[in-house]
Amino acid sequence: MNIVSDDAALMSQVAQAHSAALSELYDRYGRMVFSLAFRITGSNETAEEVTQDVFVQVWRFAERYDPQQGKLTTWLSSVTRNRAIDILRQQNVRPEGHADSMDDDLFSLKDPASDVAVEPSVELRLQQQQVRRALEQLPEEQRQALALAYFMGMTQQEIAEKLNMPLGTVKTRIRLGMIKLKDLLG
């Protein structure tokens, strides 16, 4: 079977139960999904479980993917994040319980190290570059607040308590950060 490069066409083949298409999909986005799951859960084992669940869900509901609604990468990110946070809640684990130092590279703003394989999807590489450039234009404190909300699943109140700052300040940072990102990412 000839595997096409377009994501929409690939998902169409997955919807027709072509396992080779799912294999190609994993090759393109498996690391992205696993990396996001690991960032949220902090556990290799749980990240594996999340990644499995995400790709099985893609297999079962591929026909529901509508390219008009957005990119496949954003759809996968949404499903992965929801699943990872769901599992943590089922395990009664708070995401911030595994958080490392606040000096961590919360968002990966640096280009991938030379020992990390280049992403096989050109579209994903371009998207990563675009998002990195947009994040670099945010003040550090806004990036920090967004990362705690997105990767740690923390509420604004929880972020304020963790950073020991007023709730209003956190709300402003998140709102302004998201407004700026929306403008930059279109």
């Binding site: 594996e48 998002v131 909300a149």
Partner: protein, 243 residues
């Protein structure tokens, strides 16, 4: 009445970092405000892009094979996969894991609770049916389907059918990319009656949008759809009732 827009809270809502009370206020407003729903869709698209720049970690080499093995299993197909694993309503998944983790003694307790809830729904339905005959309003009881067996609802329709309100309870909160959608049905044709969310407690309210008198329709249903709704039902049906 729509009320003030929730523009300031939408970015945080898109990140799912509002507290429960604020989130419910936003969700209630979104059921009646297309402007804010469009705003949310834009911020949600922004938020979902953040996932691609998580620090990259190489997955274990065995992971791909285990995924392909799992989808090759008969029960992983689209016909009858275990609903507790993937795509099941969140409440059903939690109940399954809770009973498995807390031992057989709680299975019996869970069964008794479910029987009691089902019985109470039947009583409520019967009460509504008797109310229908004497009220100036038209009342339609909405019963939970197998996709949401503990859900219930009621549609209150004005005497002339020009206005209606749906109140639901026990529906599982949905993922960010989904909404509940009401359908008005007659002779096999379906018209959207509006979109809504429910709070963490599964309770929600919808002011019905109808092209004409609600009395022109014979039945009503609620399904799970993508945010922004669908031209026709595409997702699981969770509640239904006949006029």
């Amino acid at each position: 009445m729509i009320g003030p827009h929730v523009t300031d809270q939408i970015p945080a809502y898109a990140l799912d970092c509002l507290d429960e009370e604020e989130a419910f206020q936003v969700e209630t407003h979104l059921t009646v405000c297309a402007v804010c729903r469009a705003e949310l869709a834009a911020y949600k698209a922004t938020a979902d892009q953040l996932g691609c720049v998580a620090p990259q970690v190489e997955p274990p080499s065995r992971l791909k094979a285990s995924i392909l093995r799992r989808v090759a299993e008969p029960q992983a197909g689209r016909a009858a996969a275990p609903r507790q694993k993937i795509g099941a309503p969140e409440f059903w998944v939690r109940l399954y894991r809770w009973t498995m983790n807390t031992g057989p003694i709680w299975v019996g307790v869970s069964v008794l609770l479910l029987i009691a809830l089902t019985a109470s729904n039947v009583v409520l339905y019967q009460q509504i049916q008797s109310q229908k005959q004497s009220s100036e309003f038209h009342l339609v009881a909405l019963k939970g389907t197998t996709n949401a067996p503990n859900a219930s609802g009621i549609m209150v329709i004005s005497q002339e059918g020009l206005a209606g309100t749906v109140i639901v309870d026990g529906l599982p909160p949905l993922k960010m990319a989904q909404q509940y959608q009401l359908w008005l049905m007659k002779d096999g044709k379906r018209v959207s009656g509006g979109l809504f969310y429910v709070g963490q407690n599964g309770y929600g309210i919808l002011a019905v949008q109808s092209p004409g008198s609600l009395l022109n329709f014979s039945s009503f249903g609620i399904t799970i759809e993508p945010v922004g709704g669908s031209p026709g039902p595409t997702g699981e049906k969770v509640l239904g009732g006949n006029l």
